[in-house]
Symmetry: C2
Subunit: 726 residues, 2 copies
């Protein structure tokens, strides 16, 4: 240690105070890469013992990034800097690299490791024990380093390690709905992190930290602009800006993608048409692709929202989704780019049931898409509701790659104000059984390509990231970014384990904090379903803003934007009959699923009103009537938010005061809004049921009319200048 | 020191590494309140010696805030926490408080201290030596504490102190041009820091840090919404949000103000008119004022932009500015609120010379405004140009309080991309001699009320603050926020001293960094004048966006929005003749000023083309022709930016890598944009002068047409959704 420390022992005290001071203040910017000091001194000592030396030659950018991260992490957590050596010092050395960077290794890799997997292994090299982090590729090593650091972040042993892991999906992509004016559609964490005006000249440190965070969970792609795309993004002026971002991302194994406007050949290219079968249109796109790859050799490809919500598409020219997607696929194929073609479509003429639209439009094209097209399907058939049944397309297109689209930003889950941990929602969909290939053909296995190895695979998450200091608005919203990455890497991971890891890395490993807060996280999504849309209710939020309750909405732009279209409440009962007697949407599922959900007796309470119109007096499994059960769920949902807050308040002092106070305030606001949801919905549905709120439950504070008249101005997420009201 | 430090000496090393690690990473969020560790160990020892004990009773919020800041600062800089005592330990104790909080003090204050001044004094109390920080009020103590911390931040002695200071202006206010949708008009540092959607429930830590930063430089007011105001801000729903901010600000001695829309009685109140002489209108405003003060007992008052750029005002009803201002003043007077009435007006019918409009409209009303009205006048007659002569109203209204309005956000100074330290611009205006009360009646003395003690006084700065991590976009833009506070406190302070303080507090006290960078700062504004608008050119920027050069603009909404209106370049020469032979705007100044500037021989080069139309061949003081001088200035301006960048690059390693790298990139971009300004303007004016660019100067890279055709999309500062082009 430096001499002056002995000469000025007080310096130790100084330094330590400073550490404590620094550790206390935390605005959440560092996400789960806080690299907190390991508080267990004995454990820290053991770690340090094993990390005194390193063999870590780094010439490529990814290896340099891995090495920098490795040193930053160890410095932060253990305040050690391993001495660089060329020969292993037994028991005290860590060896990091590829067979190439390490000039051959005396070990063989399991084939499964592939291009992105890694090994972390305690082995003997020339009879000397060391910890080895290795992979076939530099990016694999980067992933290995992040996962090694995670072991220390979560205070696990690094002795006798034998970890081998690899991603189960090929394309693990964040979709940013960011506009070029820096507003973010359905974004609740401030403006876009992409400063297009200052790009390409100014490369914000934030871009690097964004890439680090993604790489730490294995996210390997980013679509940087809104699916409601601006043709301008394909202009040379903007491609230079995109290139600057791509140059940052590349180091971290992330490929950049763009959302494109299907009519770009007209708007940008000055052509008379964007008809995908027109030779001049094909030529324009091929030329544009060549141009893009000139700027960005590893460009990922296009994300396309076509013929949906007013966006142009092949149907505007009498062509099919396959025609449009394949034309773009041909333009990208020579450069190994892909087309992510969204299945979120509904016709401009209102269908009998919006639920059925995507299936009806895409099922006929199974097998008709080029190999580098992947159809991006939302987890559910409507639109990212608090709870949806899995999308009927999963399993229904055996010869078409389907990419899962989850929404991380909480458009329908309380914006960045409500604590909703989404991993249980993801898992519920991924583990649902489509029965399309017999029992056990889960959605997870479908998107992993278990039933058709030829297909490319992927998962997309609509980002919840903005320019807020803490990136996601709500400190706990960071967990959804983190969990998405973890589950895109391996869709079958447990939400509980992911939550525990995230809490340890983000806040503390103190069990007296982790254990109760993990419980809160795991219960949070069900709470929100209960106070917003229990028993299978869906799409009853405020119109346009999607903020707050709006079960009374019946005058939206089109019938299937109305809440009344979905809940169908009347004096007789409530719910959308999607059995054969109704819209028959259930026929889009495998017979086993149809039979299970189509029978009101076997249909789980959670999905009941998705598929059945039931009388208010209908007897539920609980023994309660449907009305009483509905009311009970709304009250339970709000009550559980209150309890969550009480639990949190007991944890003061266990984490930094800033984030503790922020979450405390947020939970109070969440409770306020949960009560509004509860009271507005119960009062509204009561106007049909004419039945009383069970005795003992507090009466709503206001009359229904009060909630209907609530106005909200400048609600975030609907464009910077909008002045929408509920 | 804690025992375990002796038992585990390695911990010292640990802690120290961590400090080094933390100190290295810096995103600029902490502004000039970094509280860096004092690197000079000997000096630190001396400081610590004198700060071992403290007498600091704190019961009120401002005193609690002062104490928390005091402890945070000492912990960060010295890692000491003075032991709280009730009796002074001689030579080692600091005593902080008011006579009241300290139960009487054996010293008397100079009267000048007033309600916001403070004393920092090394004195003997009962024969015991101590350092005393005291004031008449709690906020005065807070200011004293910040200034004591500044002594340590800038490594000055705290022995034998005798500091007495007080603000020279009463109202020291930041004007935020922030819209309720979180866009910021002419804002270049991201979106608004006010999260109106989450307010009042969520009180962001950022609001507290904002208030701390303001208090540290004595800013005591904030107008939180855009002068192009939205009537909605006066609705109960929004007043609750404003109240939440006011509750934060109050602790730090900051009063909150609102920009109001003059037509609010119609839009919000449902009245048929907003005529200020209508009894029902007076009644509405009086009632609204009562309502506001119900929420915010110390509400500051209203800022009003009336009958300007399409905003409604008293003239819309055939009334005068005085009618409008006085009506609002009457509503606020019972609550001790003030009206800040902006003089930035120009008629909807185009005046002969926009320069003269404010003077013509306001001069006649001298003495006609109520005592709680202050007229807010921009530093120059046009609009925050890189250089303007001082506004002719200063000194011309002996019986009317005039509040200086400076613009911190760099609408015309390169956005948040160009390093422009504005204190020299402020000083140039403040030290200008109006001669209205004889020689030496500077603008500074006018706004300080030296010539009419009855008047209230103030200074406003249009904020350059946004949600960017570093608050102001450019790390050096923070210096303009800081300098504004310092000069609002005392308009006669030296820009050089302020720059040195800011550099020491923000980056380091290392002279090898401070000295060259201070030079850069002090020269920066002149550089920008040279590459944008040398020799008195003004208003030749891109239309609407105000981004980049646009000397050719001749098709704007109205003649006096055109660049050609201002530079009047033709084959004969260039410049706006404002002598008696021209618009005679000079007649609005005192005879001495008129004589000096009106004579092209005595008129300083800096103002020449503001007042004279001169031939291209006109011989300048330098001996060059006007054309050659103009070209020389443009080239000198761009060259000096290049030199600035070379100087900066030599400073690598002296500060944190993040901010070093960011500024390095910014300087490269500034140079690029400076060259664009230079080449576009030189080529454009050459099309009139038909004279050559002096030999040796590099030729412009492109032809004039190239620069005219440049298009910029989604330029920041013109509203979130705008898609303006140059």
């Amino acid at each position: 240690m430096p001499k002056y420390l002995l000469k000025y022992p007080c310096l130790c005290l100084m330094a330590l105070f400073m550490v404590m001071n620094k550790v206390q203040a935390d605005n959440g910017y560092k996400l789960w890469l806080e690299y907190h000091k390991v508080s267990n001194r004995q454990l820290a000592g053991v770690y340090r013992q094993q990390l005194q030396y390193m063999v870590f030659p780094a010439s490529s950018n990814p290896l340099k990034a891995a090495k920098a991260e490795f040193l930053m992490g160890l410095d932060g957590m253990l305040s050690v800097k391993p001495t660089e050596v060329t020969n292993i010092v037994s028991g005290q050395t860590i060896v990091v690299g590829t067979p190439k960077s390490l000039n051959a290794l005396p070990i063989s890799f399991p084939d499964s490791i592939g291009n992105e997997g890694y090994l972390i292994k305690t082995i003997f090299i020339n009879k000397k024990q060391c910890t080895l982090i290795t992979a076939n590729t530099d990016v694999g090593v980067l992933y290995g380093v992040f996962n090694f650091l995670k072991l220390i972040q979560t205070n696990q042993t690094i002795s006798k390690l034998s970890v081998a892991d690899h991603p189960r999906l090929m394309y693990r992509v964040l979709d940013h709905w960011d506009n070029l004016n820096r507003t973010v559609e359905r974004g609740y964490a401030g403006s876009s992190i992409w400063n297009w005006h200052k790009l390409p000249d100014i490369v914000d440190q934030r871009y690097i930290d964004y890439a680090r965070a993604n790489a730490s969970v294995g996210i390997n792609g980013a679509v940087v602009n809104n699916v409601n795309a601006d043709a301008l993004v394909l202009s040379p002026q903007y491609l230079l800006k995109v290139q600057a971002l791509a140059n940052v991302f590349r180091t971290y194994g992330i490929r950049i993608y763009l959302s494109i406007k299907f009519s770009s050949p007209v708007e940008l290219g000055g052509l008379k048409t964007a008809d995908p079968l027109e030779p001049e249109v094909k030529k324009w796109w091929a030329g544009k692709a060549d141009e893009i790859y000139n700027y960005i050799p590893d460009f990922g490809g296009f994300l396309v929202k076509a013929n949906s919500e007013g966006q142009p598409g092949p149907q505007s020219y009498g062509r099919t989704h396959a025609d449009g997607a394949n034309m773009l696929a041909d333009a990208l194929a020579p450069h190994h780019g892909i087309v992510m073609w969204r299945a979120f479509v509904y016709d401009n003429k209102v269908p009998d049931d919006r639920f059925k639209q995507a299936y009806n439009e895409f099922k006929p094209f199974d097998g008709k898409f080029k190999d580098n097209v992947i159809v991006q399907v939302k987890n559910g058939p409507i639109d990212f509701q608090p709870r949806e049944p899995f999308h009927p397309l999963f399993g229904a297109m055996p010869n078409t790659p389907l990419m899962m689209e989850f929404q991380l930003t909480q458009e329908y889950l309380g914006f960045s104000t409500h604590l909703v941990y989404e991993a249980p929602l993801f898992a519920e969909c991924l583990q649902a059984d489509s029965y399309r290939y017999g029992k056990g053909s889960t959605v997870s296995r479908v998107i992993k390509g278990d039933f058709n190895k030829k297909l490319i695979t992927g998962m997309a998450g609509v980002a919840n990231i903005g320019a807020d200091l803490n990136w996601c608005g709500h400190p706990f919203a960071q967990a959804n970014w983190y969990a998405f990455g973890r589950m895109a890497w391996n869709p079958d991971q447990s939400p509980a384990e992911i939550a525990a890891d995230w809490l340890g890395m983000t806040f503390t490993n103190d069990e007296s904090f982790v254990s109760p807060v993990k419980k809160i996280m795991l219960q949070s999504r069900e709470n929100t379903v209960n106070y917003m849309t229990p028993l299978g209710l869906h799409h009853i939020m405020g119109v346009s803003t999607h903020y707050g309750p709006g079960p009374w909405v019946d005058n939206a732009g089109r019938p299937d934007w109305n809440a009344t279209y979905y809940h169908r409440a009347d004096s007789a009962g409530i719910g959308f009959d999607r059995t054969a007697a109704g819209s028959n949407a259930l026929s889009q599922y495998a017979p086993e699923v149809k039979a299970d959900w189509g029978n009101m007796k076997s249909c789980p309470d959670e999905y009941l009103l998705w598929f059945h119109h039931l009388s208010w007096g209908y007897k539920m499994r609980s023994g309660r009537t449907l009305w009483d059960e509905l009311v009970w769920r709304y009250y339970t949902g709000a009550e559980s938010v209150k309890q969550m807050g009480l639990t949190w308040n007991k944890l003061q002092g266990k984490i930094d005061p800033e984030r503790f106070a922020e979450v405390k305030q947020l939970m109070q606001l969440q409770f306020k809004e949960a009560v509004t949801w509860r009271d507005a919905c119960v009062l509204y549905f009561q106007s049909f049921s004419r039945m009383p709120i069970a005795a003992g439950s507090p009466k709503p504070e206001h009359l229904l009319d009060y909630y209907k008249k609530l106005k909200f101005y400048y609600v975030p997420g609907i464009g910077g200048n909008n002045y929408m009201t509920n």
